[in-house]
């Protein structure tokens, strides 16, 4: 029964109706559940043949470092997301994955993945669609950094995570829990913390959205969608 309410299963069920035998296979593919403390690196850039994980509870982020020590945040992961699935297929991981909060993760048993693909092609196809979604999300972040101004970018981010949280049943009353600190959020958006603060104040004053004490509350979501041109189709199954 546990599996039914799991965020990962919930996410996959957007793609296929999981049969009981497929649910069992999904569980068999995963190692035991492991706790990771906030701030810890789960995978590091350059790691040889890194593993892939499923994030069951907590938030994480992926980033790439530059030679000068700066970093670019690539994406933020929420319950039900993979950590390092695409990296695990490369010889060396191209990204670092860090726990934003305390996490509960399971390792995917990649040794059995070929066998799994053969015996459960329908499930393999659903997982492949998850990977395709991850790429679509990163492409959209490229658009944000490349073309959206700081306000649009911030609003777009808050809308995207609202949609992503909604797809795992964690969006209600126009709000969701968002445990991202302002320095991390500013970093993900490529702006300074001071600038982010100004933007968040403006969004609140215009009665569009409020981000306070770890909670995002949409005051006028449809107006915000209109203002940013947010189109959630890249997040859809």
């Amino acid at each position: 029964m546990q599996a039914i309410i799991d965020a990962f299963v919930r996410k996959l069920e957007a793609f296929i109706d999981l049969r009981p035998d497929e649910l069992r296979v999904l569980q068999a593919l995963q190692g035991p559940s492991v706790q990771i403390a906030a701030g810890k690196e789960i995978i590091h850039e350059g790691q040889h043949r890194s593993s892939a994980y499923i994030l069951h509870e907590g938030w994480a982020y992926s980033c790439k470092r530059l030679p000068d020590g700066e970093r670019q945040i690539i994406d933020i992961q929420i319950p039900g997301d993979f950590l390092g699935l695409h990296s695990s297929m490369l010889r060396m991981s191209d990204q670092t994955f860090v726990a934003l909060t305390n996490l509960q993760i399971t390792k995917i048993n990649m040794d059995r993945s070929l066998e799994f693909v053969q015996s459960h092609p329908r499930l393999a196809a659903a997982l492949l669609r998850c990977v395709a979604h991850d790429e679509a999300i990163i492409a959209e972040h490229l658009v944000s950094i490349g073309k959206r101004d700081a306000l649009e970018r911030t609003a777009h981010f808050l809308l995207e995570f609202g949609s992503r949280m909604g797809s795992i049943g964690r969006f209600s009353n126009d709000s969701y829990e968002c445990p991202i600190s302002q320095p991390i959020l500013a970093d993900a958006l490529g702006i300074t913390t001071t600038h982010l603060n100004r933007i968040l104040r403006r969004l609140r004053e215009r009665e569009l959205v409020m981000f306070r004490n770890g909670t995002v509350i949409f005051l006028n979501r449809s107006k915000l969608v209109e203002a940013t041109g947010f189109d959630r189709s890249y997040l859809e199954e």
Copy 2:
């Protein structure tokens, strides 16, 4: 014999030694070869259940459009690359793919893909690694747009395409053919054409790299690698 020298086969062979039966399967998975004229759209953003293609000859680019008509170029594709493989797994394509030059492409027969995954898991895994690489490239472009200045960004781009052309055997004497017009390159880099011109002149004057008449010539590749911190591990098998 034709298949042996094909850019796509060459790229896949970085991952696995293709057996004759796998080569035959790869060919059976593809429709007839089709010519596309420069400037034509192959897949458009929002297209329902779009197809995936293999680019055999020519260059293409993928982009996303904003409501105000602006666009962000996401990646540029060269022979051997997929067009829209990840998009074909989404309900609607999240990107538009446009022919930069005249192209020769084949459509991938997705209807048979489940069957194929089951019968040739080794080949399916190699294709999956191609998709993982595409994501790694887009993440690196996000780093470029987010953190590199115009000169580093331009140099990084020219180095990346040198490596990618090398992996299909089209890089020799420190040079490669690059049929990208300056307006498109400027667009991909998120700078103006005037700015790009200035940057290219500076790179030439410093005797690092020259991009002229559709050819990129590295004058001092190792110094350029050092100056930009280019690390080709995200492109490696």
